[in-house]
């Protein structure tokens, strides 16, 4: 049994049929990349798993249990976390408050803060600053730190390199590699070299469907399967 099973999921925005039968599986401990062009349904797949945009048909199973019909906070309680594409830090909360909020109730907030600051030492320096005043790279670090202390077994990571300078992207990639040592990742990423570097396997999404899949081992961006996407 896979940690995450997405089976023939159909999701709509109003009358717009966005996911037309997406199926994929993620094993515990894996890093799986969802790749594809803009607007093909990668982010909607993550939103459907989280029940932020619940699917109308199909099933999403986590650790064997269906997530369909649950509230998003109940999905999060089961250990599924989210690092969204535009970071979405709470701009008017301080860095420390952003991290504290992400520590699950009942867990040690101070220990959570230490975990975040050990992973991202810069955040300690900005602990009392409003998160909205941080740079894009710093906000991405905070977003990953939130996912880290949220005690998830599976993290859904959406476009972590979007809008960041190449040097910052390298830092983000290192951070995600570190997170992946303890956490399963389902990664949406348009930066193909980064996706292939981080992931064990990949799914190619096009027009709301999975059109290709495979192991990333030995695959390069020159692979004919990606040429179409890179173009």
């Amino acid at each position: 049994m896979s940690l995450l099973e997405v089976e023939d999921v159909h999701t709509y925005y109003g009358e717009s049929h966005v996911l037309e039968g997406v199926s994929l599986e993620v094993e515990a401990g894996e890093v799986v990349a969802l790749v594809g062009r803009n607007g093909v349904g990668k982010t909607t797949t993550l939103r459907s798993i989280l029940q932020l945009t619940p699917p109308r048909e199909g099933d999403v199973r986590y650790d064997g249990e269906s997530l369909v019909g649950l509230e998003t906070h109940e999905v999060a309680d089961r250990g599924v976390g989210w690092i969204p594409e535009d970071r979405r830090v709470f701009a008017h909360l301080t860095v420390e408050e952003n991290v504290r909020l992400s520590v699950p109730p009942g867990s040690d907030e101070e220990a959570g803060l230490e975990t975040a600051y050990e992973a991202f030492p810069d955040l300690r320096e900005f602990a009392d600053r409003e998160a909205g005043t941080l740079s894009g790279g710093q906000q991405q670090m905070l977003s990953i730190a939130r996912g880290l202390v949220n005690e998830n077994d599976l993290l859904l990571v959406d476009e972590p390199s979007e809008g960041l300078a190449p040097l910052i992207v390298e830092n983000v990639a290192e951070s995600l590699q570190s997170v992946a040592e303890d956490t399963t990742l389902l990664l949406v990423e348009q930066n193909l070299p980064l996706a292939l570097d981080l992931a064990d396997r990949f799914y190619v999404v096009d027009h709301g469907q999975v059109v290709d899949e495979g192991s990333t081992e030995g695959v390069t961006t020159d692979d004919e399967r990606f040429e179409r996407l890179s173009a």
């Binding site: 932020l52 999060a76 976390g81 989210w82 979405r88 709470f90 504290r100 109730p105 939130r146």
Partner: protein, 322 residues
């Protein structure tokens, strides 16, 4: 010189007392808008219900008590009004408003306006049933005011109505309590996060729906608490028109402060309260003879803020909503 200082102190305390009342009327409204994005037009009616409920407790149990006994009964009355009106708020959110979150704001406005009509008419019927006049202040409730808030106190040579000092103390206490809740507790942190991005908060494991209910109950409870304070004030008193009389200034304070912002609401309440206090003094002294000068000045502040800074003193261009 002493006379001038006494006048300044009198006007200042009078303004701060009004500021306290305005802050209490507006805080619940701004909390609800900040998190839920709902403009609750029933807020004034909830204040009015709070005034009657607190008055009922005082008239029934505290008539004739004085000193500490009266204070204890006032605390009980305030708690009963806060809890009961908070419960009404929770029922409103769960039973009515929750169904409309995905609709345009006009649905929520119409719904809460409908609730205000229902509450006002219900209270009118109940009050008439007991032989009272709905439009007149409930004298029995006004009469439960204990002697220590009935007289005047001398401060720096000024003769200050004790009720005004009581209102200032009570208002400061409530503002500090709400501030402490929002900034010093985990639930407050959850509320502030949910106000910014309820979807992200839910993805971090926050049961946003339950937070919505709690905040609506808290906002409504604050309206009830404001009612408990207003029942003793001769300028307000428990009456059915209290609903509309309090809704308008509450909206002005919330808009001037910036919709959904705690800090802005408190600053705006002080600003509006002080302007009200000063203009009332000028009218009472015969310097200005237009009786509606306070209301005029308050609405001029509103117009000025809307023209110069439409988002309010501490507001952002866009706040609240989903």
């Amino acid at each position: 010189m002493t006379g001038a200082l006494a006048t300044v102190v009198e006007v200042f305390v009078s303004g701060m007392a009004k500021a306290s009342l305005y802050a209490m009327m507006a805080l619940g409204l701004t909390l609800i808008f900040g998190l839920l994005g709902v403009l609750n037009f029933a807020h004034g009616s909830l204040t009015m219900v709070g005034a009657y409920v607190a008055g009922l407790v005082m008239v029934t149990f505290a008539a004739g008590s004085s000193g500490l006994g009266a204070v204890v009964w006032f605390v009980v009355a305030a708690l009963v009004a806060t809890t009961l009106v908070g419960g009404v708020g929770a029922a409103m959110e769960v039973g009515l408003i929750r169904k409309l979150y995905d609709r345009p704001p006009i649905y929520q406005i119409l719904l809460t306006f409908g609730v205000t009509l229902v509450l006002d008419e219900l209270m009118r019927i109940v009050v008439l049933f007991y032989g009272q006049q709905p439009r007149a202040d409930w004298r029995a409730a006004l009469g439960t005011k204990p002697s220590f808030v009935d007289g005047n106190v001398s401060v720096l040579g000024a003769s200050i109505p004790a009720l005004e000092l009581f209102e200032v103390a009570f208002g400061v206490l409530v503002v500090v309590a709400v501030w402490a809740f929002l900034t010093q507790t985990r639930y407050g942190l959850v509320v502030r996060a949910g106000s910014e991005d309820d979807e992200m908060a839910s993805a971090l494991g926050v049961d946003v729906r339950r937070v919505f209910t709690v905040v609506f109950a808290l906002g409504a409870g604050l309206a009830g608490l404001a009612g408990a304070l207003l029942m003793w004030d001769p300028a307000w008193g428990a009456s059915v028109p209290l609903a509309s009389e309090t809704l308008l200034p509450a909206f002005v304070v919330v808009i001037v402060g910036g919709l959904g912002t705690f800090r802005g609401t408190v600053i705006a309440a002080v600003l509006v309260g002080m302007v009200d206090g000063v203009t009332t003094y000028f009218f009472n002294e015969g310097i200005i003879t237009f009786s509606g000068i306070s209301e005029l000045m308050i609405f001029l502040i509103l117009v000025g803020v809307l023209v110069v800074r439409p988002q309010g003193i501490a507001g952002q261009a866009e706040v609240g909503g989903h």
